[in-house]
């Protein structure tokens, strides 16, 4: 049976690669999931039949318990909770990596392994695993709003973080050089866990897409490091794929905000909110009603809807879909402009709109929609703020200067659904609200979009 194991690993690696390849397009993506599942099944069988494994009781119990938790979770989880679930699964994955590392460490806590490569790889793996675990739990808390979503900063934070990081690395190095000092091991684990918490608390809610992507990358790298320590190429491959994926997504997110990794991780963005409100209240804001908006929309030939996190918060996606159906029926061309960092994780808006049955051809990326904006009759902004803020483009002094935006202000008229005139996440003044072609629709996104859709499908034909 042991002869089968290397081939199982090769087959599983190949299937994981195919899985990602097929993921590139919606028409083949589900095939990708199948490939991944088959690869995983082969990998697990390969692990179970190796001759070193002699006791199956605990493994079977743990797997049944895992299914008992995992299956209901997968079936019942509402789509609006996808960012939270993703954060939670990063925590679970990283915890598994950390614990396996701990078990391996105790196995290697003997003088003959001191300073060896396996120990260094294990320490690196556990450092990433444990810090990703608590960092993901904090991210989960922020997404679930158990913890404050704003950035939590305190004086001397960077110094404290730096010292904790140094201490963690120092203890890790000591243990790698002399693994017999096992009393230091819990200290190392505690420091790594603490560092994970410190890493994420100063990051605000709107930076979560980058953070989640980065944690995804860390979890992958930790798995890869474990492959190095255990001499398992399948783990190296799977971890490298996961690490590359998270890293690219994090890069995409950073680019979409025109910020660096360092700035996201250490910037404390969103901590100093609403400082720019003074002396600007003389500007005029025009507001409109749902009826007026509906009337203009049905007479338009093109409408671009720009959703943001506000749409997710008020769970307006189904009403937005009704609006889309009503307008399409009247011959209006409706597109959705999706900013990469809209929402709380990469692709958040796409999943919500797909759930509400908006066909995916209508979802357009930032770079593709902007050239069309000047010819667009109406831009309808639902719960987005910073991603449409023209000062990112026009005002070099703005805190978000240079961030790519969806140029909603270039449309002939702009409707903005907003609860009140409060500044957005970044606390930055948004001049689009005061433009002559802008009309504000004050109210909850779900109620307002519902009201417009009702107007359109109801007595709209008389005009």
């Amino acid at each position: 049976m042991d002869a089968f194991i290397p081939f199982a690993a090769i087959a599983a690696s190949a299937l994981f690669i195919l899985s990602l390849m097929w993921m590139s397009h919606p028409s083949t993506a589900r095939r990708g999931v199948r490939a991944g599942e088959i690869g995983m099944a082969i990998a697990i069988v390969g692990a179970l039949v190796q001759h070193e494994v002699v006791d199956y009781h605990l493994i079977i119990i743990a797997m049944i318990a895992g299914c008992a938790v995992g299956i209901p979770m997968a079936l019942l989880m509402p789509m609006t909770a996808i960012p939270q679930r993703t954060a939670m699964s990063h925590a679970f994955g990283a915890l598994a990596v950390g614990l396996i590392g701990a078990a391996e460490f105790y196995k290697h806590a003997q003088p003959q392994f001191a300073g060896g490569f396996v120990l260094w790889a294990l320490m690196f793996e556990m450092l990433l695993g444990f810090l990703t675990c608590t960092a993901s739990v904090v991210a989960f808390g922020k997404l679930q709003e158990i913890l404050p979503t704003r950035a939590i900063v305190f004086p001397g934070q960077r110094i404290v973080n730096g010292l904790v990081a140094l201490a963690t690395v120092a203890v890790a190095a000591t243990l790698a050089l002399d693994p017999t000092q096992t009393y230091l091991f819990p200290v190392f684990v505690g420091l790594a866990l603490l560092f994970g918490v410190l890493l994420v608390i100063p990051i605000g809610g709107a930076d979560m897409p980058t953070v989640i992507a980065l944690l995804n990358s860390y979890a992958g790298l930790a798995a890869s490091a474990m492959g190095f320590a255990l001499g398992n190429k399948l783990l190296i491959v799977a971890g490298a794929l996961d690490g590359a994926s998270g890293f690219i997504l994090a890069l995409v997110m950073c680019k979409a905000m025109n910020r660096s990794f360092a700035n996201v991780m250490f910037g404390g963005f969103g901590a100093v909110a609403a400082s720019s409100a003074g002396g600007k209240d003389d500007r005029v804001v025009r507001s409109a009603s749902a009826e007026e908006a509906a009337l203009q929309m049905e007479n338009a030939s093109s409408v671009v809807v720009i959703p943001g996190y506000g749409m997710a918060v008020s769970q307006a996606q189904h009403k937005v879909s009704e609006l889309y159906q009503a307008l399409t029926k009247k011959g209006v061309d409706v597109k959705f402009a999706i900013h990469p960092v809209a929402g709380r994780m990469p692709g958040h808006m796409n999943v919500l709109l797909a759930e509400a049955n908006v066909p995916y051809e209508q979802l357009v990326e930032l770079d593709d929609i902007n050239p069309d904006m000047p010819q667009t009759d109406i831009a309808l902004i639902i719960g987005a703020n910073d991603t449409i803020n023209p000062s990112a483009r026009d005002d070099p002094g703005s805190a978000i200067a240079g961030m790519p935006i969806i140029e909603a202000d270039r449309a002939r008229s702009v409707f903005i659904i907003k609860r009140s005139m409060n500044a957005g996440f970044a606390g930055i003044d948004n001049p689009i609200y005061y433009n002559a072609n802008t009309q504000m629709l004050f109210g909850d996104a779900k109620d307002m979009v519902g009201a417009i859709a009702k107007e359109l499908s109801g007595g709209g034909s008389g005009h």
Binding site: A43, D55, L58, G70, M79, G93, L99, A240, L241, G243
Partner: protein, 96 residues
């Protein structure tokens, strides 16, 4: 056992480059399902957890740690693949 096996580094570099090329081609439309898929794939660490838990001569500590790790990895891989599929099922073309 005491030095880095260059074969592993070779495998890692190749897989990372391949990963970069493949992920770059994934439509931003699918970034959420991509993340849950790669997360499920990374749950292949269950392979290590199985070896730790069921290995001959595993200490009670190793068994306990391994047991929790098998549990966590199973939750991730089962829910990861299923949720990815649930998300992807929702992405529909016009008129379908």
């Amino acid at each position: 056992m005491t030095a880095l096996n260059p074969d592993y580094l070779f495998v890692f570099i190749m897989a990372a480059f391949l990963g970069f090329q493949l992920i770059k081609k994934v439509s931003p439309l699918l970034h959420s399902p991509l993340m849950s898929l790669t997360n499920a794939i990374a749950a292949v660490v269950i392979v290590g957890a199985i070896a730790v838990t069921g290995g001959a001569g595993a200490t009670p500590l190793a068994k306990t740690l391994g047991f929790i790790a098998v549990f966590c990895a199973t939750v991730n891989l089962v829910s990861g693949f299923m949720i990815t599929d649930r998300m992807l099922k929702m992405f529909k073309r016009k008129g379908s």
